[in-house]
Amino acid sequence: MSRSREEVEATLQIAKLNVQDLRTTAQCLAFSNTFTSGDYCLMELDETLCKEIESGGSLVIRGDKADHAVLCSPDKTYDLKIADTSNLLLFIPDCKTPDQLPCDQASLSVCLCEIAGFSNHYWELRRCRPKLKKLKKLLLENPYDGPENEQDKSQDIVLYTTEDLLSQIQASSLELMDHLKVIHACQISGFWRLLDFDYEMKLLSHITQLMDSSHGHSAAYH
């Protein structure tokens, strides 16, 4: 499948188009031998996400069967929605714009461009809030109440590392880490834990006692 210069010029003549008005490279488009719509899908990005991909970074789609899927960059979360278009979208790998073509050739040159695929819908991204309610719920399954109580717990309890949390929560890494700070979670032996309320109060009172006793020494010197 190819077209010669003569064939292209003949078509122009039949179409009553003047070769003089045109740039000197014609691109003949043809459907590739593997042309389908099934293999490719289009996802709309923004400048930041585009740069992330170009610099070798990655984005992650997160979701359960019951959730709406989200797309996470290192620091943001986006809702993923399918948008239909009434137009036909063709993907042409080597097609050039007018500015990319040489403009000073004497006669018409013809180059063949393959159309790789097509689509009539694409994925749209809309910035959204990360879904963080689940985080506190997961960490409250096994609050930490002192090293002595850790041994007593049965073998079946589930504890979560950062990676475990990222595979359960629809949020970006940065948003997850920020929220762990907000809910005062601590990392103990590599696992994120919330302190049991009574234990936290016990710790606070130990600390304040320590502070009082050291202040007590300095007060004696006034």
Binding site: D21, C28, A30, T36
Partner: protein
């Protein structure tokens, strides 16, 4: 919950493809599919107007930069054999190319009239 990674392949920078936006549909002349067939000739005028000759029609359009670039994704699935006969399927989307510009044809196609019979 599933985590599906979207990234470009290990070979580096994804290439840049062009998008062409057409109204309506394209059909093969005979109903034997489009694969491997020629579609049409794309020309640019000296004023950068895009011209597409498909069959008996000419379409006029223009090139434009996309406000929101597109990523062209290809889905791949790898089956991992894990311990205790469990297999895990790892699905990934590879960014094959990015699309930052398009040629859009919005006007109605102009028919090419040939063999106009001469008046006797």
């Amino acid at each position: 919950m599933v985590q599906i990674v979207v990234s470009s392949s290990r070979d580096g920078d994804p290439g840049e493809w062009m998008l062409m936006e057409l109204q309506g549909e394209i059909e093969a002349r005979r109903e034997d599919g489009l694969t491997g067939k020629l579609m049409g000739d794309l020309h640019y005028t000296k004023e950068r107007v895009s011209l597409l000759i498909i069959g008996h029609h000419i379409l006029y359009g223009k090139t434009a930069r996309l406000e929101k670039p597109f990523a062209v994704l290809v889905k791949t699935s790898n089956v991992h054999q894990e311990e205790a006969e469990q297999t895990a399927v790892e699905t990934k989307y590879i960014v094959t190319a990015l699309i930052k510009k398009k040629i859009i044809f919005k006007t109605r196609p102009k028919p090419i009239i040939t063999n106009v019979p001469r008046k006797v």
